[in-house]
């Protein structure tokens, strides 16, 4: 097996696993903050959860970028023979 393949597979797994850490921590903090806010002000739960969903999607995008990079490495790698 060519070393480019090995490096690509390794880097794809590396990108997804380490790319998921940051968004996971960030989403945890966002949800915790939203829970806190809803517990304080249950009447504004609608607005908070809507904003939370939009924010979560924004945060999640970074992990999705990592996934796309990993798929590019695996399936559309320009260096691969």
């Amino acid at each position: 097996m060519d070393y480019v393949n090995i490096v690509s597979i390794f880097c794809a797994a590396f990108a997804v696993s380490f790319g998921a850490i940051g968004p996971a921590l960030a989403e945890g903090r966002a949800v915790a903050a939203a829970m806190d806010a809803i517990a304080r002000q249950p009447e504004s739960a609608n607005t908070i959860s809507r904003t939370l969903f939009v924010g979560l999607a924004m945060i999640e995008t970074t992990a999705i970028y990592c996934l796309v990079i990993a798929l590019l490495l695996l399936f559309a790698n320009p260096m691969m023979p």
Binding site: V54, Y65, L72, F75
Partner: protein, 226 residues
């Protein structure tokens, strides 16, 4: 395993290759257009059950749009509502066996994001005129012009990657799990996929609304304060 980043043409019309995603999109368009036409053919003051359901949907969308923009929902209802209903139907079309959702191929989310990019310009120009829209790029100060221009492209691009990545990864995971254990095991993942699909449709609609609103608000003439 097939690459999720490229799709093979289903058949050719002359020199134009027709992708499976396009065929599914046509089917969804036909269903949505026919459904909307049938629902609104005989509107009555005292609504039938179907009309009441449709009114509920439209009312909910109107309320969401009003919450996000703080303005009347009428100019945005058609575009945002169609986006939401189309993406929701497309994401949930994976429930039909043998159908891959068109939003899981690269072309459809890219086209939708391009539509949002154009509509931001359209609504921005309509709200504040060409000068007002262009002035919005120089806020809060002219040093931000390159960054704002870059942002207007990257946010559309990130909408494209977000929708594509979420739907495609759902389809991909189900395919992998299905190849390992095809009986009953993928069902919880498919249920999760339904939730993701609904959330992504909602997010796409809300984000395009947020971006359009910010373009419109930036273009509005500044109120003199004190």
């Amino acid at each position: 395993m097939d690459s999720p980043l490229q799709s093979l043409p289903l058949f050719m019309v002359g020199p134009v290759p027709i992708m499976p995603a396009v065929v599914v999109t046509w089917a969804i368009m036909a269903v949505l257009v026919l459904g909307a036409a049938l629902l609104t053919r005989r509107l009555t003051v005292v609504p039938s059950k179907a009309q009441a359901a449709a009114e509920l949907l439209v009312d909910t969308m109107d309320r969401q749009i009003r919450d996000v923009t703080g303005a009347a929902p009428a100019p945005y209802r058609a575009f945002i509502g169609t986006l939401f209903v189309f993406i929701l139907t497309a994401n949930w079309s994976s429930l039909i066996p043998g159908v891959t959702p068109p939003t899981g191929a690269m072309e459809t989310p890219a086209a939708l994001a391009a539509l949002v990019f154009l509509s931001i310009i359209y609504f921005g120009v309509r709200g504040g005129g060409v000068r007002g829209f262009l002035r919005g790029f120089a806020l809060p100060n002219p040093a931000m012009i390159p960054l704002n221009m870059l942002e207007s492209v990257t946010r559309s691009f990130s909408m494209f990657v977000r929708l594509f990545g979420n739907v495609m990864s759902g389809v991909f995971v189900i395919a992998i799990v299905g190849s390992l254990a095809a009986l009953l095991v993928p069902i919880p993942l498919m249920a999760l996929d339904l939730l993701t699909g609904a959330v992504q449709a909602y997010i796409f609609a809300v984000l395009s609304m947020v971006f359009i609103t910010s373009a419109v608000e930036k273009g509005e003439p500044q109120l003199k304060e004190a």
